[in-house]
Symmetry: D2
């Protein structure tokens, strides 16, 4: 699947300013940690995120533990961040908002 | 694990009257169907329900399809419904309310 | 997504003869029940199947219970079975063979 | 739930010598990375591990990505490793062996 091009540094900065909770992991990735009441809620979040990722054929790294999940988005082929990473980070926020409600 | 005793018919009737959406599957089981926007949401619901079931060591039957999941609770050892089934049906409602929000 | 055409009755019969365990659910669907040692194994099978289904944008109905999962494949748009159902039924067998090993 | 006591350093060393692939994460934790053919297989592994963890009421940290999952076991209450961590690490190996077959 063809990928969108790597974003300029300033474009990512603008997105980060508008999406609190997300931070850079080096220059080429972004991450956010979400809190949940227990392991099961964090696991269900991970499965729902996995299904959305599968649909877009673009997958995150997710670290799931008791009451939390951390998500990293990057595009290896682009050696950095693309518009697809940012779109899926926004989808991640929406899933987490429900799962942690 | 010891199980609570089988509930009287009238006790289940009273619970059903207070919990719309749940119906009898014969005398010894109850079921409810939930709607979701897509398969991934229904699957995440099933995983979260499975984790709650595992914690209580009492498991439902779940039928998951595109945009829906149907849950059946019964207690085989009691050949009918117990207070544990009703407690887990209420937990099911809580999980579904978030997952379908 | 465009779907393959509905298969002729004889084509499905030939496939069923070669794939023991699968049976018709009426004229337009096929199903198979798989056994697992516990609920967790059946749930993991369901998640893996869900991810494969998501990749192909074609989803089964799965009934998961203690130590078992039943899978139904059909194509609503074709009002019957297509080659995609049969391909995904074969993928289902492969997932179940590992998950129940 | 009461927890088994923290293991002596030598007891963990003996276990590590017998279980290749597991390494220390500092003094108080152990980790192992498993490889899978894709994201869905790694996710199904994570769900099955989550169900086993839920049954024992002791949960790992799992980092799942494309084609891999890394598992960390530790016991916060004991500020180190206990026999429960080692038992669940062995269960992790068994799940991964099937899921990556």
């Amino acid at each position: 699947m063809s990928r969108p091009p790597k974003l300029e540094h300033a474009a990512v900065e603008a997105w980060l300013a508008a999406h609190p909770g997300w931070t850079r992991e080096g220059e080429g990735a972004i991450s956010r940690t979400f809190r949940f009441p227990d392991f099961g809620r964090a696991l269900a979040f991970t499965v729902e995120l996995g299904m959305v990722a599968q649909k877009r054929d673009h997958h995150p790294e997710v670290t799931v533990g008791w009451g939390r999940a951390s998500v990293v988005w990057t595009t290896h082929d682009a050696e950095g961040l693309t518009s697809l990473d940012l779109a899926l980070a926004e989808a991640t926020d929406a899933i987490a908002a429900r799962a942690s409600a």
